[in-house]
Amino acid sequence: MNAIPSPDPRDDQPLRDGSSLMAYLHILKKAHRALVGHDAAHRRFMAISTRGHARKYIEELMPLLLQERARHRSKREARRKEQRSGAPIAPA
């Protein structure tokens, strides 16, 4: 169910400012900044001008972001486990 659809004729359409899509892309940029820093994330983001670029951006970023999310979850779970067991709590 996680398949990303194949190329779409609308991929050439320009992105519209103030659209939901642009706003969602900014959320991904925020996450990307946390991984690679502002300058690199900003450079990559500024290369997006069409729906096709947006799609490629998501396809490129999502695996990295989900991997990092899993790492954060592991840390959170370890911390919660320590809290429940009364063991010393490692920094978040």
């Binding site: 779409d8 642009m22 959320i27 729906r51 809290q83």
Partner: protein
């Protein structure tokens, strides 16, 4: 204090997308609801469109719901809003004319298709899990979106009883400015700030299109994309050691790139009802079969009406009065009127079976409920004055709640 109020330790919220109350429930056959009838109509280009059944599974085009769209929907074609003036009188007469002409969400539909905005769904057939939850627990028919505008500011109201003045979908320039402080910033903080990191959890449905796995809540300052867990963990997380007082769950948004929202679970009008209906069942079943069930309250609601017709006029609302600057307030809206009515279902073993609740709510009612349950301070004047859900809680823990729903 009722026994129910004493026992609720975990509040869960699942917020879906873009459906009005009448669109989803007017034709449900559920008795006692305040709902549209065939006497409700909109006129457009000399034709009259009455409220009726037969809503398509997917809308032919995405109905507009930006501030100026909702102004027309509520106040009629040609309505204008003057900054600093009262919101015009609503008569809910402009839903068809707006659907016929608005380009906010793309190309308008063909003329023959514009009446679809006045159509209600067959709830029992098209959203059977939501129908079952509505009839087994409490269906609210007085819940309004927090402002007559789009997704983003309405979702911000759920998270902070304010949108910091935002009355439109944010622009790229606005979001770039938020980067300076690492996200959308509430003058008084969000509910997540108020609760503290160990007392809330965030999930997003991981099924469906990978393009839509972008949680809107991660746009807020203090919330990271990496703080959100896949919903695949939810059932197991609930089994032991779950201490979060508040859990917020987002659907998958489907194909956001091409605007079809296909493969999502948000119930976006372009995608249909099935994914979100299954998601509601998945969330219910996980909580129902967890050790937390007898200490739980689940609210299923919708961010805004998505352009669909509703027959109830929104009333006056309390502005947040949180000192937000006017920089995001493009339309000059005073946040003194609610948005269009949306569906809301309250699920708990501590609520009465098949109850219809006519109380006036908006998204800040979730925050008011959390504040009064867990002794938190209100975030703004909006949640300070909002009705909460606590009167729905009874002294009896029901034993007749369905063990599982859905396929």
């Amino acid at each position: 204090m009722s026994a129910g109020q004493y026992n609720i330790q975990h509040v869960f919220v699942l917020m879906l997308e873009n459906r009005s109350f009448d669109h989803l429930f007017a034709l449900s056959g559920i008795s006692g609801i305040t709902a549209a009838t065939s006497s409700c109509s909109n006129a457009c280009n000399g034709a009259t469109y009455t409220f009726c059944g037969g809503a398509p599974a997917q809308m032919p085009s995405d109905p507009g719901h930006e501030f100026t769209d909702v102004l027309e929907q509520l106040c009629g074609a040609g309505a204008t809003y003057q900054k600093g003036q009262a919101y015009p009188s609503a008569d809910n007469s402009g839903f068809v004319s707006n659907y016929a002409s608005s380009k906010s969400e793309g190309t308008p539909p063909q003329p023959a298709e514009i009446g679809a905005i006045m159509c209600g769904v067959d709830t029992r057939a098209q959203a059977p899990n939501l129908y079952q939850l509505a009839t087994e627990f409490v269906l609210c028919d007085g819940w309004h979106s927090s402002l007559p505008g789009p997704t983003w500011p309405n979702r911000y109201f759920l998270h902070g009883a304010s949108s910091a003045g935002l009355d439109h979908s944010p622009t790229s320039a606005e979001m770039s400015e938020w980067e300076v402080v690492d996200g959308f910033d509430y003058p008084n903080g969000s509910i997540f700030d108020a609760l503290g990191a160990d007392h809330y959890r965030l999930y997003q449905d991981e099924l469906g299109s990978a393009l839509g796995r972008v949680p809107q809540v991660a746009s807020i300052k203090g919330v990271s994309f990496f703080d959100i867990d896949d919903l695949s963990h939810f059932e197991n997380d609930l089994k032991s050691g779950y201490t979060a007082r508040y859990t917020f769950i987002e659907p998958g948004y489907g194909d956001i790139v091409h605007g079809t929202y296909a493969g999502g679970s948000s119930q976006h009008p372009m995608d249909g009802l099935e994914g979100g209906d299954q998601l509601a069942a998945r969330v219910y079943n996980a909580i129902r079969n967890s050790p937390l069930w007898e200490n739980s309250l689940l609210v299923i609601l919708y961010d805004e009406h998505g352009g669909f017709y509703d027959s109830v006029k929104p009333g006056r609302a309390t502005p947040p009065n949180d000192g937000a600057t006017g920089s995001l307030n493009t339309n000059g809206f005073g946040f003194d009127v609610y948005g269009v009515r949306v569906p809301a279902i309250v699920v708990s073993p501590w609520v009465a079976r098949g109850c219809i609740d006519h109380t006036l709510y908006d998204h800040s009612s979730v925050l008011a409920t959390l504040a009064r349950l867990f002794k938190l301070k209100p975030l703004t004047d909006r949640d300070r004055h909002a009705n909460d859900l606590l009167p729905l809680l009874t002294d009896t823990c029901r034993t007749d709640c369905p063990q599982r729903i859905g396929a």
